[in-house]
Symmetry: C2
Amino acid sequence: MNHTRPPAAVDLLARLGVIAGPRGIVTDPAEMAPYLADWRGIYQGNAAAVVRPANTEEVAAVVRACAETRTPIVPQGGNTGMCGAATPDATGSAIVLALGRMNRIIELDTLNNTATVEAGCILANIQEAAANANRLFPLSLGAEGSCQIGGNLSTNAGGINVLRYGNTRDLVLGLEVVLADGRVWDGLRGLRKDNTGYDLKHLFIGAEGTLGIITKAVLKLFPRPHNSSTALAAVANAEAAVELLALLREHCGDRVNAFEIMSRNCLEMVFRQIPGTRDPLPQAQPWYVLAELTDALAGTALRDDFEKALAAGIERKLVRDATVAENQAQAQALWRLRENIPEASRIEGLVYRHDISVAVSRIPEFIATASAALEAGFPGVRIICFGHLGDGNLHFNAFVPGRERSDAQARAATDVNRIVHDVVRGLGGSISAEHGIGQSKRGELAHYKSEVELGLMRTLKAALDPHNLMNPGKVL
Amino acid sequence: MNHTRPPAAVDLLARLGVIAGPRGIVTDPAEMAPYLADWRGIYQGNAAAVVRPANTEEVAAVVRACAETRTPIVPQGGNTGMCGAATPDATGSAIVLALGRMNRIIELDTLNNTATVEAGCILANIQEAAANANRLFPLSLGAEGSCQIGGNLSTNAGGINVLRYGNTRDLVLGLEVVLADGRVWDGLRGLRKDNTGYDLKHLFIGAEGTLGIITKAVLKLFPRPHNSSTALAAVANAEAAVELLALLREHCGDRVNAFEIMSRNCLEMVFRQIPGTRDPLPQAQPWYVLAELTDALAGTALRDDFEKALAAGIERKLVRDATVAENQAQAQALWRLRENIPEASRIEGLVYRHDISVAVSRIPEFIATASAALEAGFPGVRIICFGHLGDGNLHFNAFVPGRERSDAQARAATDVNRIVHDVVRGLGGSISAEHGIGQSKRGELAHYKSEVELGLMRTLKAALDPHNLMNPGKVL
């Protein structure tokens, strides 16, 4: 990585050093290394430097310098993404712009129910600041201890509370963004209603840094739930799970906070691989739903409501058996079954992952069709189906016989994905529900998106980043 | 209006007649008249024809014909907007594209909680279809019996349920849009999670028809509330109202569905002008809050919760007096006070209207500062302050001495607006919270928006509508 840099790059690095100061620029290969690979070690890139600006003005000056020298910029938050969006390419022509030093919670307004934060804030710190003010910031996901809100915004992160509170996109009132030419768009407004022209923030949210660099955000806060109840229900099939969701929402309304589905396969894998886990019901069942209710009101009514709704589910023959957690420890034990599925499958070998969504009503059709297609293409395939049924989002993963080990050839194969994604397309679904595109799904995006939609995206990219310097080679 | 048309226009009209059929084109001046003025009679325009296509293919063909002949298009829904966005200019060079024939509810999916509708559907019909399926479509506003969902989408309409359910923008999963060159973007997806590239739908929502024509939408449905409770609370000032909102949400969480504020002035005007209204509390009070809780669960607990929260408000000296409606009739009587404020002020004379928003926490500062500024500029001004406090959105209206009658000169004056909008800008607020820009606030937008933001908007407009044919002269 200690390659000779052309003189223009040397000039740029000197200029960036002046802008960001000695703490703000990293060129030592060992120090740069963590910024040049994704956390799973699948993508490995190179860069002229890692720049770590301390504030928006420094970001803007860095972007101006890069615009003038036509230097590509790869923005990076906590580097916890699943699709390689934050990893530069191998040429070393880009700089990595790491936002981690911009980690201030600027304001927490309990009367407006907003938090104004810098892009480099770690998600868990925002959650904690909100909780300390008796408020909820509902975005919650596995990487919350290290991911940064700027990355969550740029990837429109999902997680476990989407059913009730929406995706990251839905949790934002305003943004500050450094544009591709270094100008700063100040859209940092904490307004719940603003109909003065085009809504620009939604253009940058979920754009994975390809249209500009998010530097600050105004986030929505919510009343903090003081009560929760968790239950596991066994159902015969996905149809019953979907109908149980409708029944539960009719009974309990917005209290339904999570509604996850797991196949028996998933649980058996967890029992095998994760010590201390055990069958939650006396008899094995084909499918399980893990549901959670939360409420601002304290008291025991929530658990009663849950039991009534489940009793109605049993009466309507949707539910075969169920258990409602009696306390926090029991609730955590149920959640551990769900949360350990990814870890258990990592232990078992190479798994072909899919992060798909369809309309909730089409989940049963998707599972049936995709399972049949995979079994036809790969006899003996073992399907690990779980996910956020309430959002129509499944992680429909598969172990393929003969490809148990994670070698490069097996990893690079797209034949399994293509079968699943073809079914998704047929049902009008999404091939990336919550993980984004980055570099890993760029080919799939080009394959599956309509020409009109790709054309619109390219038009926007060309209009906002005419020299293709904002995270080039990602998404489009 | 029976002017001679140039030959090109005659050719175009013939072509449009073939596309849309005899029922789909209107050129008779008397039949065209309702489409050429806004419902309040403030804006009056002209058009080469009114075209009423029956489906998306016809819209696309109309747009292609207009693109080829460089004919401007003014899309129109129910023609209930407040800012003249649906009225063509006086030249008669444009066509009005009225979506009213495209009024099918295509699909109502109770398991996915979505309704797929054509743009010309009347809002009340969608609400009713949802209710018949035991679901709620929460968008609700004064014009709901005649406004069309395409107009609601294009203006990102607000209304009375924004506090709990968000603006129209938040109620949409997918769109179908005819682009400026006549291509159709099929983004009609009923997915709750989809991170495959830029979120294009948000570009067209709230764009007031200047970037493309929305032809279909997938809307979100919600559990239908089976229980509601309404209360009126008297407070000393806006500070107390804002703190009461926080207290109520801490007690009742998401159940808080509406939180409206009214000054004593508003109520006295209603008592004067609207027969059958009367003081809701024994003593006159300076400010009133009208709040509503709703819940999916039936039962009496909701009213108890409300009373407990109000009792806490009295204990904390936020609430001076309060009444909780005992039945539907009492609730309606309370709501009538709020709903009749616009009608009562129309009766009293020319009122200078403002549709502003600021952070909820800054509402008291806004009211104090804007009131003082108006009183300094116009001694004796009578301020009618009411609105959606829970959204930070006030209708801060004013009767100005010497300008009681609605003549053209008084109507055209912007001096009153400028004083209020300057205060809004100083507090980082919005000069159009829910009504949009159209033609009426175009000058104010150019005056108040930053150059960077206007530049971004112009860049998008030029990229998506390079010949400026989509509702030209509106917004930008």
